[in-house]
Symmetry: C2
Subunit: 448 residues, 2 copies
Amino acid sequence: MSSFRYLVPLTTILLICCSKQHSAILYASTFSLFGYIAANWMIPRVGNAFIKIGLFGKDMSKPGRPVIPESVGAISAGIYILVMLLCIPFMFYKYMVTATSGGGYRDISVVEAGEQPTSFFPHDKLSEYLSSILCLESTILLGVADDLFDLRWRHKFFLPSIGAIPLLIVYYVDFGATHVLVPGFLQNWVQIPLIDLGAFYYVYMGAMTIFCPNAINILAGVNGLEVGQSIVLSLLALINDGIYMTLGHPNTWENHRFSAMLILPFLWVSMALYNWNRWPAKVFVGDTYCYFAGMVFAVVGILGHFSKTMLLLFLPQIVNFLYSVPQLFHIVPCPRHRLPRFNEKDGLLYPSRANLQETPAKGFFIPILKLLNFFKLIDLEYDDKGQLVSCTNMTLINLTLVWFGPRREDKLCRLILRLQFGVGILALIARHALGKVLFGHDNLWTID
Amino acid sequence: MSSFRYLVPLTTILLICCSKQHSAILYASTFSLFGYIAANWMIPRVGNAFIKIGLFGKDMSKPGRPVIPESVGAISAGIYILVMLLCIPFMFYKYMVTATSGGGYRDISVVEAGEQPTSFFPHDKLSEYLSSILCLESTILLGVADDLFDLRWRHKFFLPSIGAIPLLIVYYVDFGATHVLVPGFLQNWVQIPLIDLGAFYYVYMGAMTIFCPNAINILAGVNGLEVGQSIVLSLLALINDGIYMTLGHPNTWENHRFSAMLILPFLWVSMALYNWNRWPAKVFVGDTYCYFAGMVFAVVGILGHFSKTMLLLFLPQIVNFLYSVPQLFHIVPCPRHRLPRFNEKDGLLYPSRANLQETPAKGFFIPILKLLNFFKLIDLEYDDKGQLVSCTNMTLINLTLVWFGPRREDKLCRLILRLQFGVGILALIARHALGKVLFGHDNLWTID
């Protein structure tokens, strides 16, 4: 989509301007650019190697179903990791220099028995950074295994949360905040402003590292959508970071600088991938990229301390998941593929449908289907006798087609991305406006 | 080899007894055992999945050259990472509890403007631990890419050192020691007891992260040798750790406990792999495992502060590399495979030979070949006219066969491993004895 071509550099430049301390964001932006160039150069060149080892797929929504390389998003993910590793010396150079008295002599205090070791270097920051990269690398390894072996759900479901252990440890040690604010109107009832969720907060964060990667993986099936939605999510998160770094309390700057540092390189390597994955796709992204992308947002949300805002940005993905539940749990029959149906004659995509005659939906759910149909949240088909024949598959992609009518793949993708961007902006506005209403203040301006 | 069956548990138990502070080593041992069980259960079960996606190889030294799964060492590597991640909460639990005043309240000091942040948690230790796992995961990713795509040398040569960036940063910040001791007899000449290598020391450590992984990768070609040599290296390193933890200065305990924590799980997942890779091999280990194994030792050597001792343990691998140089640089012709030649009739392995008639060795090198032949370091073959016909390929494996005569694959592997173990023990003795002679003291007893 050509609008990304302007939005991505624009956001990067704005963010550099917003950041009070330029160096970190500037380094991240510079390295992001290298990452973009490297990924953009490499992706079209590895296709044959991927096809050769069996990593390819058929593009179902094109005439003749051409075979194109699959899992190429792993290249973007790998380059991201390289960029982040190369960034470390620059990110921490400042500290490495100021922590010495010069002449190569390092003033690290001597640790004596019983004393706590101290040093001038921000080890906590380094731990955060390292645990983030570590978590992302673990996710990539899991994704590669999934791309290669098509792991079963029960084998891979909990694995991302093991990769997140270093992250949660760092969170525990550095912040340890496990309380949530109680909205003002409820405070009269419960008589406390804060509820400490304790260990449940860690379960919630662990769940987030499972949800985010899978959420991106299931809103897929149209050329460019996996990468496109990740780019939109990145832009939204960066806008939020920019707002905090301009209007926010100085206490919040550090977290949002950290978030921007992690997201900027991701945005740019994704942009490179988008160039080749957008309609008509030359490559497929694969599970590796989807998991990796989701985990970037989970990591940033957790260590950047705005996991709830981040989940708000995932609203379309959450809605897509909830909307899919009846089919995922086989209350409504679920065909193997729920991609939109490609019509070779007019080249347009139509909503795909689940056959309700072969395997009817569970009885109790039929009224709900009819209700959804009434609100135009699904399209039901009846035969002459008034019997249910089929319903559209329950994914956001099909729903968009139900609402806006059949369209070409690229236009559908663009439409969904625009909707996602619009919803995201509204969510951000609502979050800061409602925050003020519900809690008496918004942490954009004050922090308790 | 059955002797591993006793040596590995014995070393583990001895190490637990040696460690002054039991908890860390005990946790590592317990998790190692889980790792062993998981790997030993999984490895025979994934074979078909590996073969299905094209990861298989022919065992050249068996009648009929059976096809067996390749790259299965990646399972051991993956389980190692899982074990290390699961270990983190236990390793740092002590600090997480003592750093609070109880009741879930965390006494982290408030950072005020201009003040250096301090906290009771050993962030430097966590950084070390995280950077080690990160470096190993990067190596695994590189190994997987190599196993899948057969990367070219020029593409993969420098990549391990990028994975080692976090390691070197942590080294720089935590230790920053870049000087080497000058031996006593040289001190009269140079008039200084220490030479500061500065940046070169980092180049040297970067080179180590390139050398170690490749060193294990090139001493290969006999069932069980890649894993076997890694197990022997682990045992030697653990013996060294045990010596330090019993006899050494208390300052050195921490480093060697760290080393043992990293090596123990590695030793056990390798042991599981060895069960299936030893003669007659059911699986091949692949590049992933070799790189990963080498990197474990590089990481431990660097962060455990005994990179030079570690290199001493790599003596057989170094000799193998130096001995191979004439063929690697095509001074002597190098056939595509330099594996020993399998004789189907008697089932024994014979030294394989490079044909010197088709492509003769470089002229200046022929006297050297003859010299090597004189010292029984190679076997030359002449025709009736006294012309050179062939020489044995220049690898330690072939040299062992030249020295000890043809033998069956398992006996050859066992012999090489025994030689390696013997050389390693001698190297350790020499290191501590010579250390005293050369430097006037050995850091086993005193530290400056």
